[in-house]
């Protein structure tokens, strides 16, 4: 009986992942096969994900090393800021990147000064650039954890013996951490939709996710969309399984601030740190600079869209945390399996499945918001589970026996023992889910109609109409909501810290 909620949660997640997969598999017109254009999309998806992963991680190595061996004022802030792109709305970053790297952007203005022909951000280059923007910081944090895991004593010993630190300590550590980091970035880029939508520039840079969306929205070819969704599921499932087995470290852990006093510091470290800080802050700075005045240029329905975004985010956060908590309390294989499953079912795959399932009964576009709510919750579930499961296990280990002696079980155990001690991870997971949901521009684009729009969708439409000041204004609002939601939830979880 006490297992019932866990099975219910598992059934819901399975229905949304495997169930939607079944729906698309049944609907897929396999006999027709994939067209050359579809193959090109598959090829591009894999190639850009490889390029993004290799570039992000290769650049992350010197940056993480500089952070690991340098102690300076603001270092903690920089490390914290490196966590921000994970919850940064994609569309905001794209707007910032356009302001820096677009035809009329800073970089091309600089190139024009020295008489160099302008570079175009549209196409494969722009897609990879945006992916590096998002994933370089993540890779830095993953690798930094590897560096900080090397005991300080080893460095001292190496210093005494004048031994080559790079070869003896750092290369073996990188050999363990780099494959995991590569796979995580590869997996994230495999499901790229909004970046390819805004910066792809046509058939030459179309991802499978984008091709699914086009098959539904442009061709209304559900058979082909379903077939592509099956392909996407297979791609992600393989990558997710490998990644989950290889990944040794958690990308969202804290406690990174332990700098080993190193003797082999190089001036180039500063160059790397300044470079990455500039690369990350310049696009966001441009959004803020153009966006704050643009707040006044925004049409009124932006505020309505913001309201819908907040509503959807609240709903998905509640749903995601309910599912995650239920599954984390159950633990075991169920939590592990369901923690990976949503990574294989991308938002557009789930969306296409729901689209096919709902259409016989209702107009799918009328269900855009509830669908976005549910899909966003499931998409964030792996991250929430990753945060909650170890925390619940820790509490069980520390307090389980005492609680059993006192006869605490069920709801009382949850209320008295577990929940109070789970506040911080719960707050963190809620913040993550809310921010991801607010910034999401995936499944909502598939179901979108003109009657209801979320803030990222409204912002992308303003960009489409090239109302860049208003778009930047919406971008500032979106940024504030996403970061604000994260901060409030995370802060809420820490309220007891001062007591």
């Amino acid at each position: 009986m006490r297992q019932l909620p866990a099975w219910g949660a598992a059934a819901l997640v399975a229905a949304l992942t495997l169930g939607t997969l079944l729906a698309v598999a049944l609907r897929a017109e396999v006999g027709r096969g994939l067209s050359p254009g579809d193959w090109a999309a598959i090829r591009f998806t894999v190639l850009q994900a490889v390029a993004s992963a290799v570039l992000s991680v290769a650049l992350a190595v010197p940056v993480a090393r500089a952070l690991a061996r340098r102690s300076f004022r603001g270092r903690g802030l920089l490390v914290m800021a490196l966590g921000a792109p994970f919850i940064l709305p994609v569309i905001v970053a794209v707007l910032g990147l356009l302001a820096v790297f677009g035809r009329g952007g800073l970089v091309n203005a600089g190139l024009a000064q020295i008489g160099v022909a302008p570079v175009s951000i549209y196409g494969a280059g722009g897609v990879v650039l945006a992916h590096v923007f998002f994933n370089l910081p993540l890779a830095v944090r993953l690798l930094l954890q590897g560096w900080l895991a090397i005991p300080a004593e080893r460095f001292r010993l190496a210093a005494q013996l004048n031994a080559p630190v790079w070869r003896l300590l750092e290369v073996p550590m990188l050999a363990r951490t780099v494959p995991g980091a590569l796979l995580v970035v590869f997996l994230i880029c495999l499901t790229s939709f909004a970046v390819a939508l805004t910066l792809g520039g046509g058939p030459r840079a179309t991802t499978v996710e984008l091709a699914i969306w086009q098959a539904v929205r442009f061709d209304f070819d559900l058979g082909r969309a379903a077939l592509l969704a099956c392909v996407q599921f297979a791609l992600c499932a393989v990558a997710a399984l490998v990644a989950w087995r290889v990944t040794p470290v958690d990308g969202f852990g804290s406690g990174l601030d332990r700098v080993v006093a190193r003797w082999d510091q190089r001036p180039a470290d500063w160059l790397w740190l300044a470079g990455v800080a500039l690369f990350l802050s310049l696009p966001l700075g441009m959004v803020l600079w153009r966006g704050v005045p643009g707040l006044l240029a925004m049409p009124g329905d932006i505020w309505v869209a913001a309201g819908w975004s907040l509503g959807v985010a609240t709903g998905s956060t509640v749903l995601c945390l309910t599912l995650a908590l239920t599954l984390a309390l159950r633990g075991g294989w169920m939590a592990s399996v369901l923690g990976v499953l949503p990574l294989a079912a991308s938002a557009l795959v789930m969306g296409t499945g729901l689209f096919v399932m709902l259409r016989p009964f209702a107009n799918p576009t009328a269900l855009a918001l509830p669908v976005a709510l549910v899909v966003n919750a499931v998409t964030a579930l792996p991250f929430a589970l990753r945060v909650l499961t170890p925390a619940v296990a820790d509490i069980r280990a520390s307090y389980g026996q005492m609680a059993a002696l006192l006869g605490l079980r069920g709801a009382a155990l949850l209320r008295v023992v577990i929940l109070p001690r789970l506040r911080r991870p719960l707050g963190f997971a809620a913040g993550l889910t809310a921010a991801l949901s607010i910034g999401d521009l995936g499944v909502i684009a598939l179901f979108a109609s003109d009657t209801v729009e979320t803030l990222p969708l409204a912002m992308s439409r303003l960009m489409g109409a090239y109302r860049m000041d208003a778009a930047a204004g919406a971008g500032v609002l979106l940024l504030a909501l996403a970061m604000g939601a994260f901060w409030i939830c995370d802060r809420g979880g820490r309220m007891d810290a001062d007591v």
Partner: protein, 331 residues
């Protein structure tokens, strides 16, 4: 749009925010017209036509934008018989065969004195304007006069996706009409001249105006906007030696409309002077009937030849041409 819970919610919240505005129009019957985005904007034909029609219909005319013209078709397929639209406005002759095959449209029943450059005998879809597709560029830019010349040049152009946009689809037909079986090769040569492919005309034209490209696929009539509305004569359209493709934009009445009389009234209104004389200076296209053209239209580029495939041929060619285009541009 089916009135469902989500929509009711949206309407309610919008109504709460601007409570004063939403009272008056509730008693009037509503005529829903599904159209493309640029038709409904403040500077498009939508507002003027809405005012003119509402003055004589005792109804509430509601334009709903659903992306660019070709996206209207997939929107209809998606909503199928559930659609709330009474009229679909903004398809073109390249799409009418597919639209007719949906079986959702009723005969328009309008006898109009059309002044199209082609004969018209379609009893389901009624034209409301037409134009020549053309690349629009700055006068300073050295023009080209064929697809081959464009492919050989360093010019960077923006085009629209043929799956969602009617000019984008028209461009496929245009290249095919000129080059036939060589069209895929021409597209492969054009690939490095294409900055980006946008879902709709609006995005593409705005990218061009923002300086992201040397030229944009639009109409020979587009420079009239800059000339008349902005007093700016720096834009021009390129006539191609082999001719420019024609676009004839049409509207159709849905058989399942719950306002058949109003829909008929609108279709007849569309062919009348009140609608037609709004077109040149808001949609920046040629009107479909004999209304006087505004000053400035006489300065426009007129191609030597207008090309147009029959709606049957275009309908049959659409899928294979789109697939060949995707393949050529994805290599």
């Amino acid at each position: 749009m089916t009135m469902t819970l989500a929509n009711v919610g949206a309407t309610a919240s919008i109504a709460l925010i601007c409570a004063t505005a939403a009272v008056a129009q509730t008693d009037l019957p509503t005529l829903n017209v599904l159209t493309y985005d640029s038709f409904t904007t403040d500077y498009g034909p939508g507002p003027a036509i809405e005012a003119a029609f509402e003055a004589e219909c005792a109804c509430d005319l509601v334009f709903t934008g659903a992306g660019d013209g070709a996206a209207l078709l997939s929107r209809l397929q998606l909503e199928d018989a559930r659609t709330d639209a009474d009229i679909v406005l903004g398809l073109d002759t390249n799409l009418t065969a597919a639209a007719r095959a949906l079986g959702l449209f009723a005969p328009h029943g309008v006898v109009a004195d059309l002044t199209l450059p082609v004969a018209w005998d379609d009893d389901t879809f009624l034209p409301f304007d037409w134009g020549y597709l053309a690349f629009v560029a700055l006068r300073d830019t050295a023009p080209v006069s064929s697809f081959r010349a464009l492919a050989d040049s360093d010019l960077q152009v923006v085009i629209q996706d043929p799956r969602s946009s009617t000019p984008g689809l028209g461009l496929l037909m245009w290249v095919h009409a000129v080059h036939g079986d060589d069209a895929p090769g021409v597209w492969a040569d054009l690939a490095d001249n294409i900055v980006t492919v946008t879902p709709g005309w609006t995005e593409a034209y705005n990218l061009f105006l923002a300086g992201e490209a040397d030229a944009v696929l639009s109409y020979t009539t587009s420079p009239a906007y800059h000339l008349i509305a902005e007093g700016d004569d720096t834009k021009t359209a390129w006539a191609f030696d082999e001719g420019n493709y024609l676009q004839v934009e049409v509207a159709g009445k849905l058989a399942a409309t719950d306002q058949p009389e109003l829909a008929d009234q609108f279709m007849a209104f569309m062919a009348g002077p009140a609608f037609q004389q709004v077109i040149p200076e808001t949609n920046w296209m040629y009107p479909a009937t004999d209304v006087p053209l505004p000053d400035g239209f006489d300065t426009l580029t007129v191609p030597a030849q207008g090309l147009l495939l029959s709606s049957e041929d275009a309908g049959a060619l659409r899928d294979p041409l789109v697939e060949a285009w995707r393949t050529a541009l994805s290599q």
